[in-house]
């Protein structure tokens, strides 16, 4: 005897259910959770102990990216108060009142190895280049949902609040200059070498050399970005605690890997939802049969057309 549709659906639900739960729970690490370091990852190394706060990098960044200078504070000087829709790179000053050392800090995109902005971006407008690891924004794919401004733990992407065609602004490591063999704007003008550009491995070696040669000079004796948030391509050295510079303690696991683990597993291959769906169809098919019979019974009793 041929298999009925009901049997077919029930069988699919039973075998599929087991398989789907196995896929969801049993998988050790999903593809999305493993953080591969891009083959030619480039980045920045910023050393807060060398930075003199001259802001040459801010002007050079605006020039390199062809953005008008942000003169909104006094109408005269290019003095952005923070990152904004005109500013991809900013120098800020941390100056405590209790007499502990002050420090400048250069803020721009960290180019995380597992970027939270790209993990949340619905249509991959923010994406990480597989070779250089640069996180770039694509205007054609962005719907302007501003989820990146919510998710980025460093609060880097900024949305343009004015105009009918808003853009998201973030440091893209001057990838248009890199193509021409030039260095990013900020590193090309830094007079003290506080920010340098290079392959991530080289920068990491250099940072560790500085840590080793100057014991006691750097806070926590670590390179921020080596492992923080799963590793970043912009690396920081500082003599004040990193948290004071707006670089929060995020742990070694990246934010998306840590927070979206179960969300990602549930939707892996769409296995669990599909099985749930088949099971629901089967239950509702049965309910509907009983419901229709009752409705038609009532139709016979009342003489009024059945409402389903």
């Amino acid at each position: 005897m041929a298999i009925t549709r009901r049997e077919l659906i029930t069988t699919i639900a039973k075998t599929g259910g087991t398989a789907a739960v196995a896929v969801t729970v049993g998988t050790q690490a999903l593809h999305a959770e493993t953080v591969p370091i891009p083959s030619a990852a480039v980045g920045l190394l910023y050393d807060a102990t060398i930075c003199i706060g001259c802001k040459a990098c801010v002007a050079a960044c605006a020039e390199a990216n062809d953005t008008p200078p942000d003169t909104r504070v006094d109408g005269l000087h290019q003095s952005p108060t923070d990152l904004n829709e005109l500013t991809r790179n900013v120098i800020k000053l941390y100056k405590p009142t209790d007499g502990t050392p002050a420090s400048f800090v250069k803020r721009q995109c960290m180019h995380c190895l597992d970027p939270a902005c790209a993990a949340g971006c619905p249509f991959q407008a923010l994406s990480k280049d597989p070779q250089s690891g640069i996180v770039t924004w694509t205007a054609d794919k962005c719907i302007g949902c501003r989820y990146c401004t919510i998710t980025c733990p460093y609060h880097i992407p900024r949305f343009q609040w004015q105009g009918y065609n808003p853009r998201v602004t973030k440091c893209e490591l001057c990838n248009h200059r890199l193509e021409k063999g030039l260095k990013p704007g900020c590193t090309s003008v830094c007079p003290t070498g506080a920010v340098i550009f290079g392959p991530r491995t080289v920068l990491l070696t250099e940072a560790k050399r500085r840590l080793k040669e100057n014991p006691g000079r750097y806070a926590e004796n670590k390179v921020y970005g080596e492992t923080d948030n799963g590793g970043t391509q912009s690396l920081y050295l500082s003599h004040v605690p990193f948290e004071k510079l707006g670089l929060p303690e995020l742990g070694e696991e990246s934010v998306p890997a840590r927070t979206l683990r179960w969300q990602r597993r549930f939707y892996q291959y769409f296995a669990l939802p599909a099985v749930l769906y088949i099971g629901l169809v089967q239950i509702i098919r049965n309910s509907l049969k009983g419901h229709e019979e009752e409705a038609h019974e009532r139709e016979r009793q009342t003489g009024l057309r059945a409402q389903l």
Partner: protein, 445 residues
Amino acid sequence: MSTEARTMDTSASVRPEQRWERAVPVYGFPIVTPFFLCLVVLTMIALVLTAYRELAGLGPVSGMNDAYGWGIWKTFNVMVMTALGSGAFAVGIAAWVFRRKKLHSLMRMALLTSFLAYACGLLLLGIDAGRPWNFYWIVFPWKWNMHSPLAEVAICMSIYAMIPLAVENLPPLLERLWYFDSRLRPSVEKIERRLHSVFPWVIAAAYLLPGMHQSSLGALMLLAGERVHPLWQTPFLPVLYLGAATFMSFGCVAGTTMLCCLIWKRAMDMEVLDDAAEITQWLIFGWAGLRIVDILFRGAFGTAFAFDRFAAVFWLEMLTTLGGAVLLRRSISTHETDKMFLGYILSSVGGMVYRFSPTTLAFRPNPQALYFPATIEVLVSLGFIALGVAGFLVAVKRLAILPAPLYVWHDMASYFRFRRPYIRWTGYFKYGHFGEDETLANNPD
């Protein structure tokens, strides 16, 4: 009403003439009333302001800023209102999956409120998006970021509102066509037969999809990490968001139905309302239990006793939801409709506060950051809620949505027979008046 209600309580069962047996349009009331005109004006204002927003950008019309990238359009009209509009999901699952058969009489209300809440929410989601023209990527699945909660929400919500929810709302429309012109009946019946054959697949999708996106709405804030206050930030956010949606939507569906019965003087079927209240209170107790256990296990309970706005919001939310649940519990046996209604209002408000918190009230991007909605923002938000309410008023007056005892259908039939005899000239009831034996109309011989 209390004395009357109490005397009624003593009779254990509901009087048969109060039993909801059929959805009946609200007849004899004009659609255009002063209140309706107010709603229309609000909607028009919102549409004009929307045009301004599309030209000027989000900054000039809203209080959103770099720190608070999301304003009330997303956090209230989408996150809160679609939770209130999850009736098609929560009531539907209770009725179709768990077979609480009495709840079938509330289903049309649930489906209508859901559709309106989702449609208005989605419209505002499109207005809130800075670059809405890029939404066309939604038709290319290989361009989706499958692991993004926001992609899940945007895609799943649009598909849900446009396909399963819309299809589920077709029967009342088809029914009206069936009564409208006898010449349409064969084709309407053909469509209905086709519809019924795909119903299991549609209804199942109508439960799977909201389950997915209502929980993903909670997952949205997981990525925000510690910027969400520890009383709210938990790996269980998706489950808690879904749970809040279930009891809020029960409150919305049952509460709206009670309000409609009050306004248009319909009998209330206490058997159905008791059943809904019973389910709602257990949903609330379960949800609040999970919420408190989760806070205790994460060791965040101490922050609830800090003297700050977060603790105040937390206690407001807890007291309203649990207070609502207690009121519902007490109203079940005594049939005190005022208590029951208040219980639904309180628990829904509590749920709304909860759903509003992680993105706004308990979201602290940095100590200086401040967000307060701008006037235009509030007007647009209100305008799109007004659109939903106006749509609801038109629908219940033209379609058979609101449940009623059987005699109301016959009353309606005689109302139209004697007050609007000209309807007969249009061939409205070729095979006799409705309210008479309508099965004859199917088989005239």
